[in-house]
């Protein structure tokens, strides 16, 4: 599986296509959803605003998390 999310991915797209990313990022202090709606910025902008020191590293972890999640779902189907 290839990398799915990048720093340029709009948060609106992220929340719609990979809702599991919302919980993953929230547990690391980054909230994509506010008042029930995704923010309008890109994932990169959001990570910078929330003071994440190495945004790319977090993106890599996020992509691994998404891939694992999809594999688990595939296995259980």
């Amino acid at each position: 599986m290839h990398v799915k999310v990048s720093l340029d991915t709009p948060v609106e797209e992220l929340a719609e296509q990979f809702p599991e990313a919302v919980g993953f990022l929230s547990r690391r202090g980054v909230r994509c959803i506010r008042c029930g709606e995704p923010l309008w910025c890109t994932v990169g902008e959001l990570l910078r605003e929330d003071g994440i020191e190495n945004p790319q590293l977090l993106i890599n972890e996020l992509n691994e998390h998404i891939i694992k999640k999809k594999e688990q779902e595939g296995a259980s189907e």
Partner: protein, 507 residues
Amino acid sequence: MKKILDKLNIKDVNIGACSGEKAWFEDPKGQELVSYNPATGEPIAKVIQATDKTYEQVIEQAVLAFKTWRMTPAPQRGLVVRDLGEALRELKEPLGELVTLEMGKIRAEGIGEVQEMIDICDFAVGLSRQLYGLSMHSERPAHRMFEQWHPLGAIGVISAFNFPVAVWSWNAAIAAVCGDPVVWKPSSDTPLTAVAVQHVCNRVMADHGLHGIFNITIGRGAVVGERMINDDQIPLVSFTGSTQMGRRVSEAVAKRFGRTILELGGNNAVIVAEDADLDMAVRTILFGAVGTAGQRCTTTRRIIMQKSIASELTERIIQGYKQVNIGNPLEEGILMGPLVTKAAVEDMMAALEKAQEQGGEVVYGGNRLEKLGEQFVEPTIVKMPAQTEIVHNETFAPILYLMEYGDIEEAIQLHNEVPQGLSSAIFTTNLLTAEKFLSHEGSDCGIANVNIGTSGAEIGGAFGGEKETGGGRESGSDAWKGYMRRQTNTVNWSKELPLAQGIKFGD
């Protein structure tokens, strides 16, 4: 479902940019947006989103319409809004059901939301004859000084999913009688209700030989939203959403010296005093915390209860929660539907983990209800040892935090400690405590109630809040002034030229 959609003229694929019956704007570059039923996960219908080109077409129509609309006498503008209210009365049930279908609130609340649209139209009709300006006594002899309120221009309304049609109407009905065309960007989670409302508006506008007064541009925030807030053809943007987005909107609009009306996050608390009527308090807390699945701006998120009644109140709230039927929000007897998106469920679960890390104890709920569907959750009560960081943040989900206090000063201190300032309530039968809560040393919110809850505002009052809630006011009272520009006029009806402050210049 098909019956509801047919009644509202919703097709399988709908156009997301419109200024009137003969002004639906299509662009082959427009991307499809699918609207899903949050209760079932099934697609309802699609909307072709606005592009830069179709956004411009809509704005052009609205700006053009302003030139004639501002010259239409306000009471005549009121007649158009009266007819809009009548048209909404005819479609109250199907439109309310579409609200339920698209965002998941229960049917009674969906229909109640359309009733709110009708109420604000009625209010606006009366207002159309009451756009009063003051007259002031001039300090100069034979001079008359007064103020007039003039229309502002084509205004932007950016609304959220949780009140997909009512918030638009609070703005649109008032703006229309004030002489301002409205360009609406609804939430991407609820585009179909916006299309349905546009069809109603189109019919009303056509009956009056109008177009361009009520307009929609459906699209992502990063596309249509950003265009709108940076568009200097839009002198006012009314934004409902999060504090974080409100900051972005506010900065962009202020940069071009435009105006904003901001209705942002809330973190609403109910203080329950030792002398409160607990029967009333429990019923109110239940509606305030669980209604709309905890997804109202005014949802009750915190209970600050006096120590001596804390155990009894907690137990009674838990008993109340056990009675809440959760399921398909269109069905009779259901009190709580799903959350709006899967992402919202993830956000809630992450917040619950944090609450527990910060010492919170889940005393009721806390789980997903996957048997009902992916977006169903249990309404949840968390007992907190203190008002920790997670309690300061608004999580848009049915999480209720319980905290205890000793004296009323401590209760008010806890109440006002959070950064948001939308709605608040106290339950007490002590007049002195009630008055203290409403006083300037009491609640710091835009809305403060006694013996009623934080949610369920009427349209007659101004709606909005302080601090990070943004300071905007919509709907009733004198909120209309935000949609007009004030002009101070002085007329000299003498043959002298006296200056103010008694200044002599060149005499």
